[in-house]
């Protein structure tokens, strides 16, 4: 005999990382239905930016996803550059790529810290946040802000790198690279961590593809798709890096993919610094773009993010559509949750790396 009941988690719940609500139906302790409810952070971003001029949107794009603000403002500028039809100077492209990868590392570290607390290990949070500060310091040196950078501009970047920037980045990378091993030791060699992630929240490759999962969650199911390789933007086609995949499709595989990606990011930053040419970092742009549409997509730390821009020839965009990777990943979460125990919810949802700011827009 069993009786089913609905359980509400959120909007204020330590597992949510942002404001959203997860309703699950449980039979005993096993989940039989799940229903994520979003919209608690909706602020009408897409409508709001129709009243802003093109440069004014950059800081707002920063605040779309606070975990990886750089990639979002970069994505916006990429789309705008395609509408404006301008070429970015090469040096700016290299700086952007290095910054995107630094942002990827700090986003993954933030994710690791959050997952650590979810799974009951405060130590992981402390170590993860400590390494994150290293990269935030570099960004402070570069553009003065810790989280919302407002550094990318349409047609380049705001300013050139400060003196000694390359030396500092190399130093940080030299410190950070061996410390990835420490972080892994904290997780991999912890029995509890493994018990709570291995074979939990499984999703196979076909399901992952059909549900539209992107990013590390999809690569953990064995699908080798990374926009940095398959639709290169900036200078990724000149760089040498691996796309990290795993085949298990469980929480542990998703965690492994992200850890491996951090190593790859370190590699990419080093190459960028090595090859970085001298030259200007910004070009002049006209106030109003020609009529037309453009689309740009990049590999965000959370998945594939896309912006579609329609310009009607004035100084404000006519329409700006955002495809947020997390919104789609979240809609795939019931498939991962079903059949697991209710105590696995923090592990599964934490490893998805929720960022509600971009989900609700």
């Amino acid at each position: 005999m069993s009786e089913e009941m609905w359980i509400n988690m959120g909007p204020q719940h330590p597992m949510t990382h942002g404001l959203w609500n997860l309703r699950v139906r449980v039979d005993g302790e096993t989940m039989t239905a799940a229903e994520p409810i979003v919209g608690y952070l909706h602020r009408g971003w897409e409508k709001m930016v129709e009243n802003r001029t093109y440069p004014q949107i950059i800081p707002l794009a920063d605040r779309l996803c606070y975990g990886s603000s750089f990639t979002w403002s970069h994505l916006y500028c990429l789309a705008a550059e395609r509408v404006f039809n301008i070429e970015v100077p090469e040096r700016a492209q290299y700086i952007r790529t290095a910054c995107i990868e630094m942002q990827r590392i700090s986003s993954h570290l933030m994710w690791l810290a959050a997952v650590g607390t979810d799974l009951g290990s405060y130590t992981i949070l402390l170590y993860g946040m400590r390494e994150r500060e290293l990269f935030l310091d570099l960004m402070v040196e570069l553009c003065g802000a810790r989280m919302t950078y407002n550094y990318v501009r349409i047609g380049g970047v705001r300013n050139d790198t400060p003196p000694d920037f390359e030396r500092n980045v190399t130093r940080v990378l030299d410190t950070f690279e061996p410390r990835i091993r420490d972080l892994e030791a904290l997780c991999d060699e912890c029995e509890t961590f493994r018990m709570r992630t291995i074979d939990i929240g499984k999703i196979n490759a076909a399901d992952a593809m059909n549900l539209g999962l992107t990013g590390p969650s999809m690569r953990a199911s064995g699908i080798d798709l990374d926009l940095r390789r398959h639709d290169p933007y900036e200078i990724y086609d000149e760089l040498d890096f691996d796309v990290c995949t795993h085949t298990d499709g469980d929480c542990y595989a998703r965690y492994r993919v992200r850890m491996d990606e951090m190593r790859e990011s370190v590699k990419i930053i080093r190459q960028c610094l090595e090859k970085m040419p001298k030259g200007p970092t910004r070009v002049k742009v006209p106030r109003c773009p020609p009529k037309g549409t453009a689309v740009a997509r990049v590999e965000d730390p959370r998945g594939e993010s896309l912006m579609y821009m329609v310009s009607d020839g004035t100084d404000k965009p006519y329409r700006l559509k955002v495809r947020s990777p997390n919104y789609v990943n979240l809609s795939a979460s019931p498939a991962m949750l079903l059949g697991n125990k209710i105590s696995d919810v923090p592990a599964i949802m934490g490893v998805l790396d929720m960022c509600i700011g971009e989900t609700d827009r």
């Binding site: 952070l41 709001m48 606070y66 959050a114 402390l126 989280m147």
Partner: protein, 187 residues
């Protein structure tokens, strides 16, 4: 106590009797000025306890929540000031608001505030909760939390650095000390 009252007392349940006695004691204490005197004597102890164990609600809303997390990370280590995040509103005494409040969130937030036991304080962190911030013309964002719950400390910035957040909490410390409110016989 006259005869009528004792007759009532006989027909009362234990709970009602307890309430009546409590009210009687409180009213007597207030009327005779004993509450005032005891409050004056014990207030420094209350405020010492309150200001050194500030438990904010673990409630990450938006961007500023990351700075809140960074403040309890090793570099700033807010825990040395007694800032420990609690996950339940029943156990916390500061509501730290770090992000924009949408119209959908507003009733829930109001409820969270009312679930917290007194004494409670509200800290608005970041432009969004102070005044709407970058979303000043968004149709779904409440322009400042002080439009529906009282706010004690404002920490401006978008996002404020963790140092600024800690400074805000030190200001709250000073505010609690200055209030110097005794709680004798309060609930």
């Amino acid at each position: 106590m006259d005869i009528d009252l004792s007759y009532q007392a006989m027909t009362m349940t234990a709970k009602q009797f307890g309430e009546m006695t409590q009210n009687f004691i409180r009213e007597t204490a207030v009327a005779t000025g004993a509450k005032k005197a005891i409050d004056k004597l014990t207030a420094p102890i209350w405020s010492w306890g309150q200001r050194n164990a500030i438990y904010p609600l673990h409630f990450g809303i938006a961007c500023c929540a990351l700075e809140m997390a960074a403040a309890s990370a090793p570099r700033w280590d807010a825990e040395r000031l007694g800032l420990i995040y609690r996950s339940s509103p029943r156990q916390s005494d500061v509501l730290l608001l770090n992000g924009w409040i949408s119209a959908k969130m507003r009733p829930t937030l109001r409820r969270l505030y009312e679930q917290m036991p007194a004494p409670k304080w509200v800290v608005a962190m970041g432009e969004c909760s102070v005044s709407g911030g970058p979303w000043y013309d968004a149709y779904n964002v409440i322009q400042g939390v002080d439009t529906f719950i009282p706010v004690d400390i404002y920490i401006p910035g978008c996002p404020p650095r963790p140092d600024a957040m800690i400074d805000g909490f030190l200001k709250l410390n000073r505010k609690i000390t200055a209030e110097n409110r005794g709680r004798f016989l309060d609930d």
